[in-house]
């Protein structure tokens, strides 16, 4: 007979631990927007639970009117375009800086080796890094 590990009991603390682990994974991959969405959903759930039926009815009506507006979709679309533009601009600027640095290093190496101020290295230390 083999010793089988005892199955974990699915109690409240186990569920809480799993939720924290999920949030950790979400944060680790940089999905801040996902975390903000979770926080928003939790807040809406909490407010809905605390509101009186009359207040809740009023809030829901207001939210319905806001989402039903004809031009509402312009806001998320503009925000998305702005965010994507920022991502692309940031990445382009960073890559340009790196290309500039590499060209400077290359130029210094060529001049250094040509003029004899630099010598070839006997041993190379590669990082063995492969981009994901």
């Amino acid at each position: 007979m083999t010793d089988q590990p005892e199955p974990l009991q699915a109690n409240g603390w186990y569920v809480l631990l799993e939720v924290v682990r999920g949030i950790l994974r979400l944060a680790q991959t940089g999905n801040i927007i996902g975390l903000v969405l979770i926080a928003l959903i939790a807040q809406v759930a909490f407010v809905t639970y605390k509101l009186t039926p009359e207040m809740l009815d009023r809030q829901m009506t207001e939210a319905y009117h806001l989402l039903s507006r004809e031009k509402f979709y312009i806001f998320p679309l503009c925000a998305t375009i702005l965010a994507i533009s920022f991502f692309c601009f940031y990445r382009c600027r960073m890559l340009k800086e790196e290309i500039k640095r590499i060209s400077e290093v290359r130029s210094a190496l060529i001049h250094g080796l040509e003029h004899g101020t630099m010598q070839h290295l006997a041993k190379h230390h590669p990082s063995n890094y492969t981009p994901e």
Binding site: W13, L16, L17, V19, V20, I23, L24, R25, A27, Q28, T29, G30, N31, I32, I33, G34, L35, L37, Y64, L67, S68, R69, E70, F72, Y73, P76, L77, A79, T80, A83, I84, F87, C88, Y90, R91, M94, E97, E98, R101, V105, A108, L109, G112, T117, M118, Q119, H120, L121, A122, K123, H125, P126, S127, N128, Y129, E132
Partner: protein
């Protein structure tokens, strides 16, 4: 109209989340990798100019450490970077931060000292980048769960140990 607005909003959120994961986060991480590549190039050029001996232990140790950090500069595995720093602290790798610090103090070349100091500063920033969101954003739930879970308590202790260790070299 309501249905269309909700669909467009959800679609926009998904696009931004995808772009963040696929483009912005790798770019932020590449910023640290490029700084480490730049350090390694400076070190190699100093060795080629004869300021540092290319076959010395100091040179090999710093190259090894920079290469290890470049390989680990990713945020795929949760707490992998914390584990790496702890391995350095517990001397489970060929060289530790203490070894580098000792070599830097004994080195004659100013360039070598500067590179070592910059390496410590970059590693410290990388540590913060890899762990700060995780630990500060969910610090409260973790602290609460740590009271009831020995695993969470161990994680928190490991993080504090690694953070204290890496920070002590960056100043």
């Amino acid at each position: 109209m309501l249905f269309l607005n909700i669909i467009i909003t959800l679609l926009c959120i998904w696009i931004v989340m995808y772009m963040n994961t696929a483009f912005l986060q790798p770019a932020l991480l590449d910023r640290y990798r490029f700084r480490l590549f730049s350090l390694r190039d400076r070190l190699a050029m100093a060795a080629m100019r004869g300021e540092i001996e290319a076959d010395s232990t100091e040179y090999s140790a710093l190259c090894t450490m920079i290469n290890m950090t470049i390989r680990l500069a990713r945020n795929v595995e949760p707490l992998a970077f914390v584990q790496f720093i702890l391995q350095l602290k517990n001397k489970e790798t060929a060289y530790s931060f203490e070894d580098l610090k000792t070599m830097s103090e004994a080195a004659r070349a100013d360039e070598y000292k500067k590179i070592v100091n910059e390496y410590f500063a970059i590693t410290c920033s990388l540590f913060r980048f890899n762990t700060s969101v995780v630990f500060y954003l969910v610090a409260l739930p973790m602290a609460i769960v740590a009271k009831f879970s020995s695993t969470m308590a161990r994680w928190l202790k490991k993080f504090k140990d690694a953070k204290g260790y890496v920070s002590s070299f960056a100043h």
